[in-house]
Amino acid sequence: MAAWDWQVFCKDTIDGEVRPRCFGADGDITYLDWLLSAWGWTLSVAVLALVVALVVGSIMGIFRTTPSKALVAIGNTWTELFRNIPLLVQVFLWYHVLPALIPALKDFPSFILVVFALGFFTSARIAEQVRAGIQSLPKGQRYAGLAMGLTLPQTYRYVLLPMAFRIVIPPLTSESMNIIKNSSVAFAVSIAELTMFAMQAQEETSRGIEIYLAVTGLYFISAFVINRIALFIEHRVQVPGMIGGH
C-alpha cells in the first residue's frame, strides 16, 4: 500500500504545488482552504435546516395532539408526506420539479431550497417525536391545566410542553446528529459541501484515502459536538423527580 501523503492538503488547487504555510495567499486556494470552506457549507446547511426542522416539527407535533380534528389532519398529512418520500428524491423535487411548476422558485439559490428540503424532511421525524413526548404525559395533566382556567395554548405552554420537550431531548439529539450526516445530499444540488469536496478533490489529487479520512473526521467531529451540546442541555434543564431527572 502506498504511504500516506498528508501534504496533499497543502497543495494549491490550481497548480498542485505545495504551499509553505498550507493556506493559500493572494487569492490562491489550497485543498485545506477548500476543505474548511466545505465544512462551513456543511455546517450552514445542517444548522439552518435544524432550525427549520425544530420549529416546523414542534408545531406539527403539537397540532397532532390538539382536540381540533383539522389541526390533527394537517399535522398527520405533513408528517406522512415528508416521512414517506426518500430524502434525495425530495431534494430533487425542490430543485428540479417545483421550479418548473412555480417559475419564481428558479431564482432561489439552491442553498435555500436544500435547507428547506432537509428541514422539512427532518421536521416530519421531529413532529413524530414531539407528539410521542406529549402523549406520554398522563392525560390528567392536560385536564388539570384546563380545569385551573388556563386556555389550551397556555396549558401547552406552561404544563405540557415543558415536560414533553425534556422527555424527547434524547431522540431529538439523534435527529440533530442525523441532519449533519444527511446534509451530504446537498452535493447533488451543487452545494460545495464536504461530500462534494471529497468527490472532487480525490479525483484531482488521486489521494482518495487521505481526503475521505479527513472528511469522515470532520463529519464525526461535527455530529459529536452536537451530541455533547445536547447532553449539556439535557443535564442543565433536568428537573428532579421528573422523567429523566435525578
Binding site: H96, A100, K106, A192, Q200, Q202, E203
Partner: protein
C-alpha cells in the same frame, strides 16, 4: 567472504523485488482468465444491462485480450468484466482486482506515479455545450453566466484554471452525474455545460430534441484517454501496446471508431456523430503514452 555476502544479499534483494513486481501475463496464463475494468456509463465504455458491457474502448479491449490469448497460446481465455468508478479504478488496478482497465481514464502525471497506461487511443477535448439559440459562441461570452459541470471530473479543475488565468468569473453549478448536468442546461438552470466532447455529444444525441443544442467554442483542455494497467509490468504493457498498434495499423481501430461514434449505437440506436478529432488522429499516427501535461505544453 564479504563479497559473497554482498552478492548473496544482492540476489536476495533482486528476487524479493521480482516477487513484488507483478507478472500479469503469467497470472492470466495460470488462471485462464483476465479481469477487464469497464465503466457503467461513460462515452467509451458502458453497460446495456444484463451484465453486458459495450463501447469503443470495451470492444477494443476485447480485441487486445484476443491478441494476448494468441500470444500466450491459450485455447480459451475467460474475460471477467469488472465495473469500476472514478473513485475506485486506480486502487482496483493496483491491488490486482482489475488487470486491464479500458474505460475513460485520463492519462496524467499524478496517476502515472501509481499506475501505467497503454498507448493513447482517444484524445478527449473539453468543450462547451449551449442551447443553439443562446447566441453563445466562445468561453469569453460565459462571463457572469451559469456554467454546469459534473462533480468528480477533471473539467471542474479545468474551469477553475481557466477562470483564474483569464480573470473571468462564472457561476459554477455542479451536477451529480452527466445526465444531471445536462438537465441543468436543459431546464435553464445553467447557460452552458462544460465537459468532455464525447460526453456532450452523447448527451445531446440522447436528448428530446438534439437540434436545440450545439457544441461551441475553443477546446478548453486536451486529455489523452488510455487503458490503465499495473505499474512496472513491462511485458504486459508491451503485449497491450502491440495489439493496439496492430489495430491502428490495419485500420480496424478506425472502423471501430466509426462504429461507435458515427453509426447508431445501442441501447437507443442514436448516433453520437462525433468525427475523429485531429488530436486523436495525431495520437494514432504516433502511438505514445505521454501524460496530459505534455499536451498542455504544445
Amino acid at each position: 567472504m564479504k563479497k559473497t555476502l554482498i552478492a548473496f544479499a544482492a540476489v536476495l534483494a533482486t528476487s524479493a523485488a521480482q516477487a513484488q513486481t507483478t507478472d500479469t501475463l503469467k497470472k492470466i496464463k495460470d488462471s485462464g482468465s483476465i479481469s477487464l475494468g469497464v465503466r457503467e456509463s461513460s462515452g467509451l465504455s458502458y453497460t446495456i444491462g444484463n451484465g453486458k458491457f459495450v463501447g469503443f474502448h470495451t470492444e477494443m479491449a476485447e480485441r487486445v485480450i484476443a491478441d494476448i490469448r494468441k500470444q500466450l497460446g491459450l485455447s480459451s481465455l475467460e474475460v471477467k468484466y469488472q465495473p469500476v468508478t472514478s473513485q475506485n479504478r486506480i486502487p482496483l488496478v493496483q491491488n490486482g482486482t482489475v488487470d486491464l482497465e479500458c474505460g475513460s481514464t485520463t492519462n496524467n502525471a499524478t496517476r502515472q506515479k501509481d499506475v501505467s497506461f497503454a498507448v493513447t487511443t482517444y484524445v478527449e477535448e473539453v468543450r462547451i455545450a449551449v442551447k443553439a439559440n443562446s447566441g453563445i459562441n466562445s468561453i469569453a461570452q460565459l462571463a457572469g453566466k451559469k456554467v454546469a459541470t459534473t462533480t468528480g471530473t477533471t473539467s471542474v479543475q479545468t474551469l477553475r484554471k481557466h477562470e483564474r488565468a483569464a480573470g473571468v468569473n462564472f457561476e459554477e453549478v455542479f451536477g451529480k452525474d452527466h445526465a444531471d448536468s445536462f438537465l441543468l442546461l436543459e431546464s435553464g438552470r445553467a447557460d452552458a455545460f462544460v465537459m468532455d466532447g464525447s460526453i456532450l455529444a452523447a448527451n445531446i444525441a440522447k436528448s428530446k430534441n438534439p437540434a436545440d443544442y450545439k457544441i461551441v467554442g475553443e477546446v478548453l483542455s486536451v486529455e489523452p484517454i488510455a487503458c490503465m494497467l499495473r505499474k512496472d509490468d513491462l511485458a504486459f504493457k508491451k503485449a497491450v501496446d502491440d495489439s493496439i498498434k496492430r489495430q491502428i495499423k490495419d485500420g480496424s481501430l478506425a472502423k471501430l471508431y466509426d462504429k461507435w461514434f458515427m453509426q447508431p449505437i445501442p441501447p437507443s440506436n442514436t448516433r453520437v456523430g462525433l468525427p475523429m478529432s485531429d488530436a486523436t488522429k495525431a495520437a494514432w499516427a504516433n502511438p505514445n503514452d505521454k501524460p496530459m501535461e505534455d499536451y498542455a505544453k504544445k
